[in-house]
Amino acid sequence: MQKRVTFVEQLEMENVLTKGRGHVSTRSMDPERGGLESLPRHLGRETHVDMSPSNQRMKTSHIPQTLMSVPFLQHPALATGRRRHLCSIANVYSTEHMRQQMKRHYLNVLHTYIQSSVYTSHLKAFGKAVHALSRVGDELWLDPKVKGLALRSVNSAHSAYACFLFSPLFFKNYNLRPATEHGAETVKCKLAMKCVLPLFRCLNSIERNVEQCQISVGSPDDQVMIQFFCRHGITKTHNLRFQESEALQAVFASHLCPNVLKAPARLFGDVVMHFPSSQEEVTLSMTPLRVGLKNYCDAVNDHMKTMYTEMSLHPDEFDYFHVGVDSNITFCLKELRGLLSFAESHCLPVSVYCGAAGKPVCFSVEDMVLEATVVLATLYDPESKDPSQSAAMTLTDATQRCAEAAVLPVGSCEANIGEPEDIPAVTEMIASSQGSPMNVPPALMLPLLHTAGVCVPEDHCSSANSSPASSTICSLLFRAVSLEQDNHDSTARPPVLAFYSDEEENMEEDTDSPSL
């Protein structure tokens, strides 16, 4: 209805003219004139409420007496018209009106929330995970499994490994097709990071525009299809060719690590901020009294030009602090920053599992629906008198040879299958992340099959020690191809094919719905 403020004096004049009434009527009359929204109220002594039938059509709202009796409304100089004007303003704030507004707002918000739902933020988390992995390596392994989708990456020198495991609950729909006739052929999908990263590069625009994302992995075509269903009916489809490759996984017995620290991601962020982003390696030293971090300068760099930074933290700053063994470990910071920024954006605490120098260090973050791990090789310090260092075993070069070499210890340990063994340091020579060969082997992690305890055959070690490290580059972690055929362990690799069909983040099977 039209609303027009008409002062009652004006009306009175009109009334006097038209109807010749003596006293002031408090209702604005005359719907044809589009009068005020009338307010039935008891205005007070001098006015007279006129309930003529024509008024009933007007929207009325009730102003409580308490409000009406406030002193400023009783001021004698306040003309009736102005008082009415004030009351009309008060109408806007009437409780019914407010209640209606609130209800409408609530419904809007609920509607928006249901539409977008928590999965949009999950998509952002997925994108952030891709970012973090891109800081580690150039290739992304997509590994769909029963227990979730694993995204993994390893750096070229194989001294850093990162894994993000998203449980099926993370996705709106996550369907794995059960194993097909061809047997235990997992989809081993390796994508180039520079193909995947641009899709998730701008997370803010993804958050604003993308309503759903669907990821399908299909082996007939060797393609991964990533579809973004965006606003305004736009669908972006990206088909990425993947390479078949051997699976990538590292096993790290974190429960066997003597030193465990846990702290909110903010703490790590603050600490790491002090080191320039070009700083490659840092040394983390731990004693039961304090934790220190300083940058590590190897002899190659010019001592004179580099800045040294050192800082120490008190155990109280950590949520969980357990140092079993005093240690100084040196690792590369660059690959870790991705995980730290991921953890900070989700406000998750970061746990650090480490041992003596030479043993790998693991940083992990977990949530109810996801789990992220970064494992970094550490520098082995030959001068340290740490008795827990086992003898180094040199493995030489590329995967094939690694495979052969790795087969040996497994083979000799066949008899030990079933015995839980302390994972020894199967140390290997590896190149440092900068690519320069390191003279000392960092300790490492191991073949995947944790049920087959890996033992280090003594004779092999002693022969290996003699060869100098500098020429060898070796793989840190992984389980070589040949091992796959040896042992089929249901926990290590489920003999299912992972085909996913999914809605929010989906893997759809290509054979059923051939892409495009």
Binding site: D270, M273, H274, P276, H303, M304, K305, T306, M307, Y308, T309, E310, M311, S312, L313, H314, D316, E317
Partner: protein, 273 residues
């Protein structure tokens, strides 16, 4: 601390290495005119009382109560940026594996014990015999002195001009007019600034009394400089100075002076033919 950090950041944008001279009252960042620097030289003066609560310094000897260090301002700037919200910051000259400027800061943490961070920035001590190279430069006998237009505007103009040419002619007159000109085979672009005002050096500046006073206010003094050097100077300025002036010695040198509340910066760009 923020002010000091800001000064160091500005210096770090101007040059990779410079000399820090410490006296009992002042700090000077000096870049002397060398071929390696492309002929530019810089002199930045800070009064220690404006920045430090406590200042203790002992020079080489009582007559030469100074310390001269060669330092990379970028390292210093990085170190200071990370300790911006520290409870207390101390700068010390120490000798570790080499002489270092150590920045020790205490950072507030959630627990009761504060975190201690130390950054060691390696420096080189300059021996006394070379101190003469880092003396305060004399004010050149300039032909024109003029206030600069807002640095941001100037920077925008110079940034665009840099795409077109390598050399820029800066000219100004005593009437408050300044032009920035570039000329290539295809195009010539000039930006005119008017009503800039001329600093009243007046009586004391014109030592011999003659040329400045009798100079025609419309006559332009100009100098052709490498545009990248000018751009580098303008890029480093983050805060608007209280006063910004430019002295031009015709065809010789452009002398830029920035005066902030707590520091002054002079920058000399030689003219090229």
């Amino acid at each position: 601390m923020d002010g000091f950090s800001g000064v160091i950041t500005t210096i770090s944008k101007l040059t990779k290495m410079c000399v820090l001279r410490l006296t009992s009252d002042n700090l000077f960042f000096v870049l002397s005119e060398k071929v390696a620097n492309g002929g530019v030289s810089m002199w930045c003066e800070l009064s220690q009382a404006n920045f430090f609560d406590e200042y203790q310094m002992e020079g080489v000897s009582t007559e030469d109560n100074e310390i001269c260090l060669e330092v990379t301002p970028e390292n210093l700037s990085r170190a200071l940026k990370t300790v911006q919200n520290a409870k207390a910051v101390k700068l010390k000259l120490t000798k570790k594996h080499c002489p270092c400027l150590t920045i020790a800061a205490e950072l507030p943490t959630l627990s009761s014990i504060s975190r201690v961070v130390t950054h060691d920035v390696p420096v080189d001590v300059i021996p006394r015999r070379l101190w003469h190279e880092f003396k305060e430069p004399n004010m050149p006998d300039f032909d024109v002195s003029i206030y600069l237009p807002p640095l941001k505007t100037m920077k925008n103009v110079v940034d665009r001009m840099k795409n077109l040419s390598n050399f820029l002619v800066l000219e100004a007159n005593l009437n408050g007019e300044m032009n920035l000109k570039i000329e290539t085979d295809l195009v010539s672009v000039t930006t005119h600034f008017k009503d800039l005002g001329n600093p009243p050096w007046g009586e004391d500046a014109s030592q011999d009394g003659g040329p400045s006073q009798s100079r025609d206010p419309q006559a332009m003094a100009q100098a052709r400089v490498d545009i990248r050097k000018l751009q580098q100077f303008l890029m480093g300025q983050q805060v608007n100075p209280s006063k910004a002036m430019c002295n031009i010695v015709h065809e010789r040198v452009v002398h830029l002076i920035l005066l902030h509340e707590d520091m002054s910066l002079q920058y000399f760009i030689p003219a090229v033919a």
